[in-house]
């Protein structure tokens, strides 16, 4: 009798939490297609709110393109820097190695907002303000500590023998990197790529500060503007449609790459 009671109360508690955590997610999907006053979906269920987003300002297509461009570029920058840097830290000794590694990790200690003020001014001097490429460079900066750390431990985990036999066959260090090591560290590459994509896709404060032209806005800023700009009447339906559009790629990536999510957290736990 007692184990049964224990088991029932376990499922009541666990299930209750599951309902609480899932409810807002289910609700936003529902609200984006449900009829409601003061939205683009007045009668019956339908995609009126999404259609509204397509025409809003520069158009959903534009914002999707901007967000995708920034995210893909951030992933490319991050992977390029972290692969070369991680390889250097894992397999070579050179002057200033430890200093450079510690300084790279120290980026984590400095608040985002502290660097955005001078970066705003610097990007202006470099002609990169209001530039999606400039934004991607800044987003890369904040991915660097995790990415370099992750790639360093990935390279360190590859047995040295594999490399040495290739060296004996006359391959240079770059040949070893591109022809052998990259295949050995691909789980690390996926984790770094996943995390930097999600961070860039979802970032809000950097594009808010660094990109002010309306047709260069990324999705989170565009949807937040949608909420702010109309006086008095906020288009809540379109806002929730925007939330769904932003969330879908994140949910799909989660479904496809679950194992790499946990891998990233585990290395975080080791770091702490």
């Amino acid at each position: 009798m007692r184990p049964k009671l224990w088991s029932t109360s376990y499922y009541v508690l666990a299930g209750g939490f599951a309902v609480l955590f899932l409810f807002p997610l289910v609700w936003t999907g529902y609200a984006s297609v449900a009829p409601a006053g003061a939205t683009r979906q007045q009668d019956g269920y339908g995609l009126g709110n999404y259609a509204g987003l397509l025409e809003y300002d520069a158009g959903l297509g534009r914002y999707l393109w901007n967000s995708t461009y920034v995210s893909v570029l951030t992933v490319a920058f991050t992977l390029a820097l972290a692969v070369l840097g991680g390889y250097a830290f894992a397999r070579f000794t050179f002057r200033g190695k430890d200093t450079l590694f510690i300084v790279t990790l120290a980026i984590l200690m400095v608040p985002y907002s502290t660097l955005l003020i001078p970066l705003y001014s610097m990007l202006g001097d470099l002609g990169l303000r209001n530039s999606l490429t400039g934004l991607a460079l800044v987003l890369t900066l904040y991915q660097l500590p995790f990415a370099v750390f992750m790639m360093r431990i990935s390279f360190e985990a590859v047995p040295k023998e594999i490399e040495e036999s290739a060296m004996c066959d006359g391959a240079g260090t770059f040949g070893v990197l591109t022809r052998i090591m990259l295949f050995a560290v691909w789980p690390g590459l996926v984790t770094v790529g996943l995390f930097s994509f999600l961070a860039a896709w979802n970032d809000f404060i950097a594009p808010l500060i660094l990109v002010s032209e309306a047709d260069k806005a990324v999705l989170p800023v565009a949807i937040a503007n949608l909420r702010q700009q109309s006086m008095g009447a906020v288009d809540f339906g379109a806002t929730q449609a925007g939330v769904v559009v932003m969330a879908l790629p994140c949910l799909v990536l989660f479904a496809l790459l679950q194992r790499h999510y946990v891998r990233g957290f585990m290395s975080g736990a080791i770091k702490g």
Partner: protein, 287 residues
């Protein structure tokens, strides 16, 4: 051979070095210089004015309320987040029927961005389309203004943050829980420890590194809160939910004073370094 290997290593590290120099070290130096200068947003550098930007911080009527609010918010969020994420981790720690589903359910909000989650709750709390007032009405309770008073706005934001991050911290604690060897529990049980005693004297001490990581991440994240308040409450009502980072944003882009914003940024940086060193020390001493 050895010499060329050194050169090769330096070459592979060079892109990171250049990048860190340009996008990290240079802005770090520049923020110090800006904080000591008269630096309007549009006009740019008008020369040193030390210590005006720093003395101006104390005169800013929003500064101390923002500091007080940020600390209060951090305290609430950290306690609730650690408590709930530990509870969730314990719920899903043992493999039994359904734990896979529960893990995924608790974790799903983490996959959203913070701005998306804030926009979601912006609608969720709204009287226009939010589901809460109809639910309360069905129970015979009146509508609640979820963001209308300072207290309501604070707690509504806390709920959003706990919802968004509990699953993330649950996973960190879960990894910690699973790294505790089962024989330690077995030994405690043989010594006659009950469920609570083995939790108190085995789980909590051995979970310390994971708890430490959760503590540092949640403290830092809350002290630097921006997106959730910018989107959900806009700092209102009556500036009651303005955080320190929001104040930096306002100084820079609403009052167009980059010098003042830089000075607050430097203070925040210093405070955060002190807090993090303090936490690391405390955690190390105890273990």
């Amino acid at each position: 051979m050895r010499h060329s290997r050194k050169l090769a290593g330096a070459l592979y590290a060079a892109p990171v070095a250049v990048f860190v120099l340009v996008f990290f070290i240079a802005p770090l130096l520049l923020v110090g210089r800006m904080s000591a200068s008269d630096w309007p947003l549009l006009a740019g550098d008008l020369g040193l004015n030390m210590p005006d930007n720093y003395t101006g911080i104390a005169d800013n009527p929003l500064f101390w309320p923002a500091v007080g609010f940020t600390l209060k918010y951090t305290g609430i969020v950290v306690v609730l987040l650690i408590g709930l994420s530990l509870l969730l981790a314990l719920i899903v720690a043992d493999r039994r029927k359904g734990t896979g589903f529960f893990r995924t359910a608790y974790f799903l909000p983490t996959t959203l961005g913070l701005a998306s989650a804030s926009l979601l709750f912006f609608g969720f709390y709204s009287p226009a389309i939010g589901p809460l007032d109809p639910l309360l009405e069905a129970l015979g309770l009146g509508p609640v203004s979820w963001l209308g008073t300072p207290t309501a706005a604070l707690w509504s934001t806390v709920v959003l943050i706990v919802w968004k991050f509990a699953g993330f911290f649950m996973i960190i604690l879960l990894v910690g829980l699973q790294s505790i060897p089962p024989d330690v529990y077995e030994a405690a049980r043989l010594d006659g420890a009950n469920r609570w005693q083995s939790f108190r004297h085995v789980t909590v001490p051995l979970l310390r590194p994971a708890l430490g990581l959760v503590l540092i991440l949640s403290v830092t994240g809350s002290l630097l809160a921006f997106d959730q308040f910018f989107i959900l409450t806009k700092g209102g009502p009556d500036n009651s939910t303005v955080t320190v980072v929001q104040l930096i944003y306002r100084e820079a882009f609403q009052r167009f004073d980059l010098g003042a914003a830089a000075a607050i940024s430097v203070v925040v940086l210093a405070a955060l370094v002190v807090v993090n060193i303090g936490q690391l020390r405390a955690l190390r001493k105890d273990t």
